[in-house]
Symmetry: C2
Subunit: 299 residues, 2 copies
Amino acid sequence: MTGPFDRGKGDDSLGPLTTDQGALSRLSLNQRTTASWSLPQAVQGCVDAGLGAIGIWREQLAEVGLDEACRLVSESGLRVSSLCRGGFFTTADPVEAEASEARNREALEEAAALRAATLVLVPGGLPPGDRDLEAARVRAARAIERLVPHARELGVTLGIEPMNPIYAADRGVISTLAQALDIAERFDAEDVGVVVDTFHLWWEPGVADQLQRAGERILSYQICDWITPLPADTLLARGMMGDGHIDFAAFTRSVAAAGYQGDVEVEIFNADLWAQPPAVVVDTMVKRYLDLVEPYLAG
Amino acid sequence: MTGPFDRGKGDDSLGPLTTDQGALSRLSLNQRTTASWSLPQAVQGCVDAGLGAIGIWREQLAEVGLDEACRLVSESGLRVSSLCRGGFFTTADPVEAEASEARNREALEEAAALRAATLVLVPGGLPPGDRDLEAARVRAARAIERLVPHARELGVTLGIEPMNPIYAADRGVISTLAQALDIAERFDAEDVGVVVDTFHLWWEPGVADQLQRAGERILSYQICDWITPLPADTLLARGMMGDGHIDFAAFTRSVAAAGYQGDVEVEIFNADLWAQPPAVVVDTMVKRYLDLVEPYLAG
């Protein structure tokens, strides 16, 4: 934590976003977009491309360890736009629930050390054989409630990620931004907010109104496209911006109109992209961002 | 139209549902569940299995012609729980829109002749290269508005089918029951209602409240399961009741509590099922219905 860009672990404020880095200052690479890169490689890739931030995954973080990760990030000057991911707390089993809470508290420690803008909470799906979606949603909300004191103590804001209903059974039982906000609004905005991902929310009726409602609770803006035909593995069904059906201009304008001034994180799970050299993927992502997203960030 | 079960074309009332057929009196086979069967075969299959109704597809209807279809259905004593399908009216092209309206008016004639409980309207997706989902939704609503006078004249009730967001781009831009009702409620309940399909709606937050809101506007209750992993072809991603994650007891209770007394139509698009002998599929469907759905229809 002694690099040239170290903001100081004890400093509570990240300060205003720098805009002098130019058009890419708010662009962030989520590590899943370049899945074959280790964390050091991804950090270097972001620096080489002139990006402002990185979205870090806990799996790659574990490979280098938290201290080394903090050093790398600090020296790079990158912001950590998100730590992916906490959550997966829909279990009805008390022992599993305790294990889940322990994992989430560990993730919170990491998010705090990395000064991540949020810890992304993926709710998790229905437990095996369980068909009570409503009860699973209630358990997810309660698990968030239990995490809040720990998050507050560490100065981390929890980010509920509503997920496309395609994942309602096996990945994320919170299905709309409206539903995520119904939960988030039970807490202070500095404790709990939402992660807005175009893939998950582009279809939601009234989403512009919900983004306006979210306002300062938007902790992360993640982007990728909805492509058809949907790839066979739905977990890898996301597309590069511009390859699918999402109107990024309209969605981005709504996010900007809600007051969001944070980073724009490109998170794409896609086997075809993963088969390409990561630097090429980053290059494409930068071009598409500049063409389809960045012009609309001013609102 | 001279068969033993002919209710008479000029009779405006179907009368109360017969319950003396027993536990299967409200069960309907949608033709897509047994895709290899022609209409005559499907009608015979329904009769053999003791079902009360059939959901007919226009493609198979065209193979035998409307008059012969009416004769078959009438002699069988089956109700036609739905005609599938009208809709696909999101085009922005005036010529295509006119062609779509002509197709829908033809479908209305068929639905009237068959005395179908509803003409199912699948809205259609985004036109190629078009990313304005909101505008496509508005066009769908306007197309419905244009059909209403024709439907009324023929005594057919239009059934808007909200579709799982997995199909928002390429098949159905109306994504929730709430959204479908927002459109349906602009019209008289005898003109426009909704088609409630568990596959499309099981995940919708607050769906029980929306079903209550729908009330008499529920024209059709279609069932199949949401299975994971989702089959590679998402158009064939539907599962037999009990094979997936949907709580049919809870959903069916909500449908019943809303006052629905119509048929329960099993509509499953699934390549594995289609590979089985259709009569075996019907047999399985009957067992699952009796186990998972029928006990909850009393509310």
